[in-house]
Amino acid sequence: MWSRVVDGQVLTFRMLGLNNQNFMMTDEQTGTWWQQVTGEAIQGPLAGKRLARVPSDEVRLAIWRQDHPDTTVMAYQEAFADNYLAEDWETNVAESPVPEVLVTGREELGAREVVIGVALGEQTKAYSREVLRAQGPIIDFLGGVPIVLAIDADGQSVRCFDRRLDGRTLELFAVPDADSFQMLDAETGSTWDFAGRAIDGEAAGQQLTRVQTLTSFWFDWRNQNPETLIYDAGMPQPGDQPAVAPAATEAEAADVAGSEAAD
C-alpha cells in the first residue's frame, strides 16, 4: 500500500509490464515507471524517488475487524465476478511453472515458496511461511532489533513485532491449546495476543510496536533483496545474542523500528 502523493502531486497509475516477474506501473501525470513491490521510481522524470509506504496488515478479515471495529471493507463488484482470483489462487500460482528469473545462486528455498520478508536497519531476512507455521512464534534479531514473528492458526495471517518492552527484551513462546493465538513471555510472565497486546500478567495493557512484513514468493523477495538473510530453522533461538553489539546500535535500531513500525 502506497501514498499516491509525490512532491505534492497526486498520481494515478496504470499497469505497464513485468520486470523479473514483478509488475511495474506508470503514472499518467509524468510517465515515470514504478516498481510495484518497492515503490521505487526506476525510469522517467521521477526516477530515484520512492512512494511513501502506508503500513499495511495482511490478515484474515475477522482479525482485522477485531482490531479495527469501525473498518470499511472494499466490496466485490458484479462486473468483475468472473475475474477475481479463485479462493485457492495461491496453490494454483505455486504450482504454475517456475519462470526464468535472475540467477543469483540463491536457491536455498523453492522459487515459489512463500516467505515473510522483513527489512530492518541495513538487513533484510526471509522467513519461510512453512517454518513459521511449524515453529511460530519465531523470535529473532534483525538489524540489531529483537523481533518476534507470529502466525495465526489460520496459517496465513502474519504479524511481526519489536519485542522490546521498557528496556527489556522479551523471549516469547507459543501458548499451546489456546482458543486463539497467544504467546507468553518469560520475563514478565504476561500473555500476549495476535495484536501484540498483553492481555494479562505484569505487562497487561502494554502494546508491542509493529514491524512491517511483506509476504511474497522467495524468488521475488530474493530478486528485490539480493543480500537477504534466510531464517535458519535449525538454529536454537531463545538466548541468541544479536548479531550486532546492542550498545552500539540501540539508538539507531530504535530509530529504525520507529520509522518502520505500523501504527
Binding site: 500500500m1 502506497w2 501514498s3 499516491r4 498520481l11 494515478t12 496504470r14 499497469m15 505497464l16 509490464g17 513485468l18 520486470n19 523479473n20 516477474q21 509488475f23 511495474m24 506501473m25 506508470t26 510517465g31 515507471w33 510495484q36 513491490v37 526506476i42 525510469q43 512512494l51 502506508v54 503500513p55 499495511s56 496488515d57 495482511e58 490478515v59 484474515r60 478479515l61 475477522a62 482485522w64 475487524r65 479495527h68 469501525d70 473498518t71 470499511t72 471493507v73 472494499m74 466490496a75 466485490y76 463488484q77 458484479e78 468483475f80 475475474n83 477475481y84 482470483l85 479463485a86 479462493e87 489462487w89 519462470p99 526464468e100 528469473v101 535472475l102 496465513q156 495471517s157 501504527d263
Partner: protein, 171 residues
C-alpha cells in the same frame, strides 16, 4: 512492375510499424529475466515507439501517393483494386499507432480508479466479504479499510482515498 515493388515496400513498412509498436511490450513480457539495462532500453523504446511508428506511417503514405500517381491503365475496376490494396496496406499503420501509445499490459489489466465499499454495494451475491478471507488492511487519518486480496490480486492496481490521503493498493 514498379507498382508491385512499391506495394511490396508498403507491406514491409506495415510489418515494421507493427513490430515497433509491440516491441516495448515484448521487452516487458514474462517470462524473461531483466537487468536494469533491459528496463532502461524498454523505457527508451517505449518513448520512441510512437514517433518511429509515425515516421514509418508517413513514409508509407508517401509511397502510397507515389503508387497512386503512377500511370494507370483505364478501367474503374483496376482503380478500386489499387485503392483497396492501399487501404489494406495502410490500415496496420493505424493499428500500430494506437498500440504504440501504451503497452499491451495496460489494456489487459483493469486497474480500478475508485473503490466500491460493502456498505454501498448493490451486489449481495458476492458480498459480504467472508471473515476468513485474506485482506490488506490500512489505517490512515483515523479511518480504516480492508482490501480483499482476491480483488486487488486481479486488478493489481486499486486507487482510493482514505482519511484524506490518496492511496494505491498494489498486489
Amino acid at each position: 512492375m514498379k507498382k508491385v515493388a512499391l506495394l511490396f515496400l508498403m507491406a514491409i513498412l506495415a510489418a515494421v510499424a507493427m513490430a515497433l509498436s509491440i516491441y516495448p511490450s515484448y521487452l516487458l513480457a514474462p517470462p524473461q529475466a531483466h537487468t536494469p539495462e533491459d528496463i532502461a532500453h524498454a523505457f527508451q523504446m517505449r518513448g520512441l515507439a510512437p514517433w518511429l511508428v509515425l515516421a514509418v506511417a508517413l513514409l508509407s503514405v508517401f509511397v502510397g501517393v507515389t503508387v497512386w500517381r503512377l500511370p494507370k491503365r483505364p478501367g474503374i475496376f483496376r482503380r478500386v483494386l489499387l485503392g483497396t490494396a492501399l487501404v489494406v496496406l495502410m490500415a496496420p499503420l493505424v493499428v500500430a499507432a494506437v498500440i504504440s501509445r501504451g503497452t499491451i499490459f495496460e489494456r489487459m489489466f483493469a486497474s480500478l480508479s475508485e473503490v466500491e465499499l460493502e456498505s454501498d454495494t448493490a451486489s449481495d451475491t458476492l458480498n459480504p466479504v467472508g471473515d476468513d478471507e485474506m485482506v490488506m488492511g490500512i489505517s490512515v487519518g483515523g479511518a480504516s479499510r480492508a482490501y480483499p486480496i482476491r480483488i486487488v490480486g486481479y486488478h493489481h492496481i486499486v486507487h482510493d482515498t482514505l482519511g484524506g490521503e490518496p492511496v494505491v493498493a498494489t498486489y
